[in-house]
């Protein structure tokens, strides 16, 4: 009896292992097929001119310069707006705010906000920034909208990172007569910075891929100029790709594939940077 159930348990163990393996292979397989498809179509299209050219009616002459410039300026403004607010809010909620029912309520809501579909943020941005604040379909309106989108992510990441700071370090600081601010700025924040940075980079790489909220607030599909200030109109790489894929000509599909490769590489780089930062930091502060 005993040996029977043991054999059975071993069998279950094996079966489960292979089921898990097959699902992993399936998921990775789909990804690989997609990547091969994209790369085989687009890689030949990537050259210096592709980065340097303005969008055009002619697929071969089209480039991603305005989309790339628009995306980078958009990210720049988004980070400038969302970073200080998100980090300070996270520090306040975790380190200063009282842990009462209201705090719990706010915490749950912030986590929920991180899961709200991005198009909802687009509608909010359209009403608030484009219409009420009369910013129009400008870079700054887009940046404000994306800031709302990534704020919850930054706040949650900041809180998590600060929560991970051992109380023994706070006690050590208070023990020599440090104030709350001295403790927070000299001990807690530097210790948590690695986690906060990781969260920020992940938030930015989320913002990079966003198309829906920007389309809602009226980001243009065709922009023949580089934005020169926050009030200028703009387009971004995902929107450019979206535009190209909706064209009937095969040459534009090639452009789209090439654009996707560029976008993938940027996202990949950012995620890699996030992992590198985290590992480097944790090595430094490990006990």
């Amino acid at each position: 009896m005993k040996s029977y159930s043991y054999t059975r348990a071993k069998l279950t163990d094996k079966v489960f292992k292979y089921i898990a393996l097959s699902f992993t292979v399936f998921a990775l397989g789909v990804l690989v097929v997609l990547l091969i498809d994209i790369f085989s179509k687009g890689i030949a299209r990537i050259n210096w001119d592709f980065f340097r050219n303005l969008p055009s009616r002619h697929a071969e002459k089209s480039g991603i310069m305005t989309a790339l410039a628009g995306m980078l300026s958009l990210l720049f403004f988004t980070v400038i707006i969302a970073l200080p607010i998100g980090i300070l809010a996270g520090i306040y909620l975790q380190e200063y705010g009282k842990k009462n029912r209201l705090a719990k309520f706010i915490e749950i809501n912030i986590s929920n906000l991180a899961g709200v579909p991005s198009v909802i943020y687009g509608i909010l941005g359209l009403t608030l920034f484009v219409r009420i604040l009369k910013l129009g379909n400008s870079l700054i309106a887009g940046a404000l909208t994306l800031s709302l989108l990534i704020l919850p992510i930054i706040i949650v990441a900041t809180r998590e990172a600060i929560r991970a700071v051992p109380d023994s370090l706070r006690e050590a600081s208070y023990g020599v007569g440090a104030t709350k601010w001295q403790t927070t700025s000299k001990v807690v924040f530097p210790f948590a910075l690695g986690g906060i940075l990781t969260g920020i980079i992940l938030a930015v790489s989320r913002a990079i891929g966003e198309t829906a909220p920007l389309l809602v607030i009226g980001a243009l599909v065709y922009v023949p100029f580089i934005p020169e200030g926050p009030k200028d109109q703009f387009t971004t790489l995902p929107i450019q790709i979206f535009n190209w894929t909706s064209r009937p000509q095969a040459a534009f599909i090639v452009n789209a594939a090439a654009g996707i490769i560029v976008l993938l590489l940027i996202t990949f780089l950012l995620n890699g940077l996030a992992i590198y930062t985290r590992n480097k930091w944790y090595k430094k502060i490990r006990y």
Binding site: S168, R170, E171, Y174, G175, V176, K284
Partner: protein, 248 residues
């Protein structure tokens, strides 16, 4: 005159009463040991003297706590903690360099003069009997030191701000016997300059290092007397049972 004094101290964590009407006086330049089984309130009382319990939410404190006959609640809490230093159970150096750990308190109190900081760091490390081991590697991370060295570093960090009282909450409980004996030698030496209160689970340690010993049980101060008397001729039956290892 007492250096530290508690009068009718009562403390609650939420609903749970951790200290029950404790009155005790600590004489200057002595080592006082707080002993007793886990949860008896000895660490809690220790943390009252530098108001560390203020950091724990839902804590209610009644009674008087005095330092040099001044109510510590009439003092600025940061000023109090500079004068009443604390060493914790687990070594808790900051993830900074050895030098920056000791200099931390000095920079907190606004010391800007680099040479003054350097001199005080060296002096503190010497007072904490760590200088010979870290001289020349002051820029190395504090976390690369051994557990015993880390604890002496924490003591140096506390001494650097020149307190008059040092509270030690089981400072050797996570250390090996050799590191422990180094800490004990250190306590013996520090007694000349500081008033020391040490919480310990280790009876032999209390007997070795302290002048006076207080025995706590379930939040009450059962007996407080000269260490020698506490260990050889305790007046209370429970004290006798505890120091002879019959319970606890």
């Amino acid at each position: 005159m007492f250096k530290l004094e508690a009068r009718h101290a009562n403390l609650w964590y939420g609903e749970k009463q951790a200290l029950k009407d404790i009155s005790i006086g600590i004489e200057p330049n002595t080592v006082t040991a707080f002993i007793g089984p886990s949860g008896c309130g000895k660490s809690t009382l220790l943390r009252c003297f530098n108001r560390m319990n203020d950091l724990i939410e839902n804590t209610k404190i009644k009674g008087e706590f005095l330092m040099d006959d001044t109510d510590i609640y009439d003092m600025d809490v940061y000023e109090l903690r500079k004068r009443v230093g604390m060493v914790f159970q687990k070594p808790n150096p900051f993830p900074k360099s050895i030098f920056d750990n000791v200099a931390y308190g000095l920079r907190i109190i606004g010391e800007k003069n680099r040479n003054a900081i350097k001199d005080k760091v060296e002096l503190s490390l010497k007072n904490a009997a760590l200088w010979d081991e870290v001289n020349g590697i002051l820029n190395k991370p504090a976390l690369s030191l051994s557990g015993g060295q880390q604890q002496r570093l924490c003591i140096a960090r506390t001494l650097a701000i020149e307190p008059t009282v040092v509270l030690m909450d089981e400072p050797a409980s996570s250390l090996d016997p050799i590191s422990t004996s180094k800490i004990e030698d250190l306590i013996y030496k520090l007694k000349q300059k500081f008033t020391i209160v040490i919480v310990t689970h280790n009876m032999q340690q209390a007997a070795r290092v302290s002048n006076k010993t207080a025995f706590f049980y379930l939040g009450e101060l059962i007996e407080f007397d000269n260490t020698e008397k506490m260990f050889t001729d305790p007046q209370n039956q429970r004290t006798q049972n505890y120091v002879t290892g019959r319970f606890g």
